[in-house]
Amino acid sequence: MKPTRVADPVDCRTFRDWVYHLQADEIAEDDRRRLLLHADACRNCAGRLEVEEGLLRALKHRLERAEVPPGLEGSIRDALAREAPAGRRSGLRAPGASALAAAVLLGGLLVPAILEGPGRANAVGSDALRVVKATTIVDYDCDTAGRTPAEQRKCRNARHLNALKVGDAVYWNVNLDHPAARDIVLNPDHRGRRVVVVADFYPDLRTVHLISVRPAVPDVL
């Protein structure tokens, strides 16, 4: 709710006091209309509005955002990866909580998992492994609680996120940077569906950066 405290009638002092909030579109519609009506009738306040608009544009231009230094994101990911086991022991007791934390902070799911099974793996850089793997999309919390895929699809708990199940009690995270990832992670209707993913897998984070996803059987995804 935007504040509605602009004095009535509007005089030049009132206009001066509220002009920044008018520019920020942070006042109620009725107040906005009254301030602009005053400016229409007052040459000085119309001039002030023009001046303030120009100065605001100039100020924003001069306050351009700096670029993130190269390496910072990697440092943070490394630090979080080191933190993950400790987090599971203490503050973030449950793997699901760790997963949700990483999902929000990194854009991926972080769940306990190891790289195993029949998927092919090739080294990609020092951190990631290129994998091609048939997996099942599951609601991590429901799946670990033993619920069936049908039950998982009915679950509407907003804190429950989907993961890729690659084996018994083995789950992979999904980084949200791929266009399909958000749908995979958030859509309850996909739970229980088999998909083949091509991805870069980060063992420390148990996270996959998707490259492509295709149904394991026709018309699945």
Partner: protein, 188 residues
């Protein structure tokens, strides 16, 4: 990584040092991870991360300060209004202030003015003008009332714009007394 650039920029504006800003941002993500239980699902994640970053900054860098920074805002506002009203209003139309300040003002002038702002104002200015967060989001991020957001933004913006006008005045483009007094924006 979501919000990394926004966090780095706020860190940079608070610490004035890229390396310190990097450390601050990394610490912010670690704290966010450790205390993720305190995040309310569905609320503004950027606002929550900003709150962690600012609290971390205060704990790290402000402990040694004896007292809060102060500015003589009334003096700055009076000078600002005098220049605005005298130079641009009452029917006179010199080149637009935008053209004036865009034509020659040094980035350093604005950055120095930003650095001289009290931290409370600077944080709100970054959130509002650089990150374009709403007053409500800023209030949530800083755990302060909406009215305090408005007041800090009003003052912070006026101090910064006074710097731009003062630059124009020194260049002889506008007339009048200094828009920024000698103590403007600095601790005293």
């Amino acid at each position: 990584m979501p919000h990394l650039r926004a966090l780095f920029n706020l860190g940079l504006k608070l610490t004035h040092d890229p390396k310190d800003a990097e450390d601050l941002v990394q610490e912010t993500y670690l704290r966010a991870y450790r205390f993720f239980d305190s995040y309310e699902s569905g609320t503004h994640i950027k606002a929550w991360l900003f709150r962690i970053l600012r609290n971390t900054f205060i704990n790290r860098y402000r402990a040694a300060k004896a007292r809060p920074e102060e500015v003589d805002f009334e003096k700055i506002e009076a000078g600002y209004d005098h220049v605005v009203e005298g130079a641009f209003l009452h029917g006179r139309r010199p080149p637009s202030p935008e053209a004036v300040v865009m034509s020659g003002v040094l980035d350093a002038e604005v950055q120095d003015a930003m650095a001289a702002l009290p931290e409370e104002y600077r944080t709100v200015v970054v959130m509002a003008l650089m990150e374009e967060m709403t007053y409500k989001e800023i209030a949530a991020a800083l755990s302060i009332p909406l009215g305090t957001v408005m007041s800090r933004l009003y003052r912070g913006r006026k101090i910064l714009q006074a710097t731009l006008l003062e630059f124009a005045r020194r260049k002889g483009i506008v007339s009048g007394p200094p828009a920024v007094p000698n103590t403007g924006g600095k601790e005293h």
